[in-house]
Amino acid sequence: MTTANVYQQRPDSGAKAESSLHHANLAGLIGKGRKNPGVIVREKKLLGHLTLRGDAKDPAFAEGVHKALGLELPVALSLVAKDQTSLQWMGPDEWLLIVPGGQEFAVEQALRAALAGLHISVVNVSGGQQLLELSGPNVREVLMKSTSYDVHPDNFPVGKAVGTVFAKSQLVIRHTGEDTWELLIRRSFSDYWWLWLQDAAAQYGLSVEA
């Protein structure tokens, strides 16, 4: 029996939810960028982020995760996704689960039920971080300016996700499609990343999408 305090952390209704880039008014910038932009940024805000920890070597743990999510535990530096749900390797005993906003409470309960009796941890970190999706032909150039990590497709194929240094700080880079990348950013750094991306992508043309 767990003593973890599991409760619905998302306000039911009426409460105004703001992402950490609310002040930048991205919605007001849609369609105002250059035509044929080299980089398109999309804020994937207010999703459910859960940090899952457990013993990767324990078959019961892998089975339980599969039972609850329908996803296999990803191996090092990789990411598995189904529909809008993704599970990412963060460390040898840590994974990040991202689900559509509003589903995190039900998913957490399903995980806890499937993993009952095992030495695990599920923590809702939705308020602490969010995703920025970058797409377009010049995204790789922007990444190359920002990080020392090799983002060439030979080294960084689709489905890979790495935590690394980026523009003097740290974040997680996820390669989700041919020309589509995601940055997992801390909320306290959101403004910094937004300013950095505007600057780094200026020469290619930056556009905001909903």
Partner: protein, 110 residues
């Protein structure tokens, strides 16, 4: 820029992703209460500062955030191996005498 192999991520990463956390393989006294002040002080504060091979604890702070051990030559900065905590290093001072100091007289080890 050094490239360091993270045994958890399984690939070489640039040095700026890592943080050195001092000497490795320091066992905590099993019964701290029965330690003398000198023993506890040695455990707590005193570290080797070798000229040559050194076994160190490193943390992949920007990546998987896990600790691991590395064997590093403090003269040449060469990292001979990185290995998981709990395992034994392959390279030790006895097994692999330093080639870099062969031409130079070593001071007395104190």
């Amino acid at each position: 820029m050094l490239h360091i192999f993270c045994p958890h991520c399984g690939e070489l990463r640039s040095e700026e992703e890592f943080h050195a956390s001092g000497q490795a393989h320091i066992p905590r006294p099993l019964d701290p209460g029965s330690c003398t002040d000198a023993e506890w002080g040695d455990y707590m504060f005193f570290r080797d500062n070798p000229r040559g091979l050194h076994h160190e604890l490193w943390n992949h702070v920007a990546g998987c955030r896990q600790f691991f051990n590395a064997t590093r030559n403090t003269l040449t900065y060469e990292i001979l191996e990185t290995y998981l905590i709990g395992s034994k290093p392959q390279f030790t001072e006895q097994a692999a005498p330093l080639t870099t100091t062969a031409t130079r007289e070593l001071g007395e080890k104190v």
